[in-house]
Amino acid sequence: MTTALFYILGIILLAATLMCITRRNPVHAVIYLVAGFFALALMFYLLGAPLVAAWEVIVYAGAIMVLFLFIIMMLGLAPQEVPEGPGWQRWLPLALLSASLMACTLLLILEDPAAGQKVGGFYLAPQALGEALFGRYAMAVEMVSFQLLFATIGAYLLGRPLPKGEDQ
């Protein structure tokens, strides 16, 4: 059962990602990416890491993708004109993906109604995850935080307006 779910989720993930990178409309691409993140979250759950699964949904599908959408709209990248043809044709792939994701989630709930501990034979408790992150791998977390600091500096450095009287 778990193995079957894993392969189904894998196919959904690959399909969603493929759709994402082939879309011309960036908003559509982001929506497909969100579907992919949901499949990934379920995979993390299958691997016995429910907290990582929750983060995948909250941080990636929630926060980061909303940020993406904001940026796309701020830069005016979303196409304005409505394409021809019936709308359901465009949304059919996403609807199928979402429906299969929903089915997978329901199957997972049926399989493991107590949420966790039984699915994969391995269970990563949130506390153990936190201890690994901020104990054994504290150095890695510090390095990533440094990277974020310098990414911010880079964004500021490359994105700030030039002094007046100078063109690009």
């Binding site: 791998y137 150095m139 890695a140 990533v144 880079g154 490359l158």
Partner: protein, 472 residues
């Protein structure tokens, strides 16, 4: 992380936190000279700390080593950062870049390179690699008034992102087959315990190799190199050509000396990569009409030669490779320092037409440039010759006659294009325009690089003995 870890990490902490401190100071205090001096001093202090303060433990948080080999490269990259900042001084002031940001990025990149050279864990390797590439994305594009720099930055960013994808996927496959990310085990367990998963592990190592190939521009993955070198300002190009590639090779040397058996399965692939890289670099450089693009192709050839040393899988090969990394870093930095010192308001001299007859206007720096180019080609008496000689000798002992022949052929071809530049510089009939006279820090860097090229060329034993004692 304990106090012992922090003490063992001291040189990197000095670089990273020193850079951050200068960044903070630079937010309020915009005078470039003191900030640059502070940055150079921080880098030098980091180098001294790496050399003088013995680490209390040989391992840092299970991710990095603090052994002699790691410390050697920490010193080298810290000194390189100091030299890079010295070369960049005039560039920053003339282009009115933020000195605080620039200095902190260079120091941060040096910290990343030092960590990469000492990685003993694939997670540490990945993070350190991302650390300094991130700094380079920004440094390359730091001059916003130059469109070519922006293009180069974007190209490097895209290629870097692709390489990161390969790297992460490869590491995941290695983990899946060996069950660990710690470096000796990640490779050793694969052959013994992995069983049916071994092909996936090998695929993982292959993907890691592709990512490494992107970073050090091995042949099928080298196409970004000339464009990025051309667009990047020379002070950044000098760091990019030397530090970013040298640190990756140093990590490879560390990985290889730890991870014997896996590499036997990858030997054919490495052989092919080395051969194609040497030929592609040498033949690609022949048609170039721009010195920075020429240096880019030259670096491709050199990375191929380095791979030959890595292939030998014995102490001589690793020592030769390490020697080669050091010599290549010094020589290449010298070339970029000369270019940077000649830059004026018209920009850096790049196209061959701008170099024509420059030897009569600036005889000393032109002569030095010729010496550096001949060292890159491998003229006896220069450090470049000793490096190539050591690598090829180790390869011959290990039975790679074919590779040595290809390498020698590539060297002979490379003499053709290096000598062409030398002839251009001293062409009498076309007197060039006067370029910038250069500043004291620039002259100092050029002088140190030239002296090192000659000293290591005539007395290579100094460096070889040191490396022999440090190899893991």
């Amino acid at each position: 992380m304990s106090l012992i870890d922090l003490l063992a990490l001291l040189p990197v902490l000095i670089l990273a936190f020193g850079g951050t401190a200068i960044l903070m100071v630079g937010a309020w205090y915009r005078e470039p000279r003191p900030l640059l001096a502070g940055g150079i001093a921080t880098a030098l202090i980091g180098a001294v700390a790496a050399g003088m303060v013995p680490p209390p433990s040989l391992e840092i948080a299970g991710l990095f080593s603090a052994g002699g080999y790691a410390r050697f490269f920490t010193i080298l990259w810290a000194l390189l950062a100091a030299a890079g900042l010295m070369v960049a001084t005039r560039y920053i002031m003339e282009k009115r870049l933020g000195a605080g940001e620039y200095v902190s990025l260079v120091l941060y990149a040096a910290a990343g390179m030092a960590l990469l050279s000492s990685a003993t864990h694939l997670l540490g390797l990945f993070l350190a690699l991302e650390t300094f590439t991130l700094a380079f994305y920004i440094l390359i594009a730091s001059n916003r008034r130059c469109e070519m720099a922006a293009e180069a930055g974007l190209k490097y960013l895209l290629m870097g992102a692709v390489a990161t994808g390969f790297m992460a996927f490869g590491i995941a496959l290695i983990y899946a087959s060996s069950g660990t990310l710690a470096l000796p085990d990640a490779a050793l367990r694969m052959t013994a315990a992995a069983g049916g998963l071994q092909p996936w592990g090998l695929l993982g190592w292959g993907l890691v190799l592709i990512a490494v190939g992107f970073k050090i521009s091995l042949a099928p993955f080298h196409l970004w190199t000339p464009d990025v070198y051309q667009g990047a300002p020379a002070p950044v190009g000098g760091l990019l050509a030397t530090g970013s590639k040298g640190a990756v090779v140093a990590a490879l040397v560390g990985m290889l000396s730890l991870a014997g058996p896996v590499w036997h399965d990858l030997v054919d692939l490495l052989w092919l990569l080395a051969a194609v890289t040497m030929l592609a670099g040498a033949l690609g450089a022949l048609g170039q009409k721009n010195l920075k693009r020429l240096l880019a192709y030259s670096s491709v050839t050199h990375m191929g030669t380095l791979l030959v040393g890595l292939l030998c899988q014995n102490t001589e090969g690793l020592a030769a490779t390490t020697f080669y990394v050091v010599v290549y870093a010094i020589t290449s930095l010298g070339a970029f320092a000369v270019i940077a010192s000649l830059a004026d308001q018209r920009g850096e001299p790049m196209a061959f037409d701008e170099w024509r007859g420059l030897g009569y206007r600036h005889p000393v720096r032109s002569a030095v440039l010729v010496l550096i180019l001949l060292s890159l080609a491998g003229l006896p008496g220069t450090a470049g010759f000793m490096a190539k000689f050591a690598v090829f000798q180790a390869a011959l002992q290990s039975g790679y006659l074919g590779l040595v022949l290809i390498g020698v052929f590539a060297s002979v071809v490379s003499f053709a294009f290096y000598l062409r530049v030398a002839m251009l510089l001293f062409q009498p009939e076309a007197p060039a325009v006067q370029r910038h006279a250069g500043t004291a820090p620039e002259h100092a860097v050029v002088a140190v690089c030239t002296a090192a090229v000659l000293v290591f060329g005539l007395f290579p034993g100094i460096l070889f003995d040191l490396i022999g004692r440090l190899l893991p």
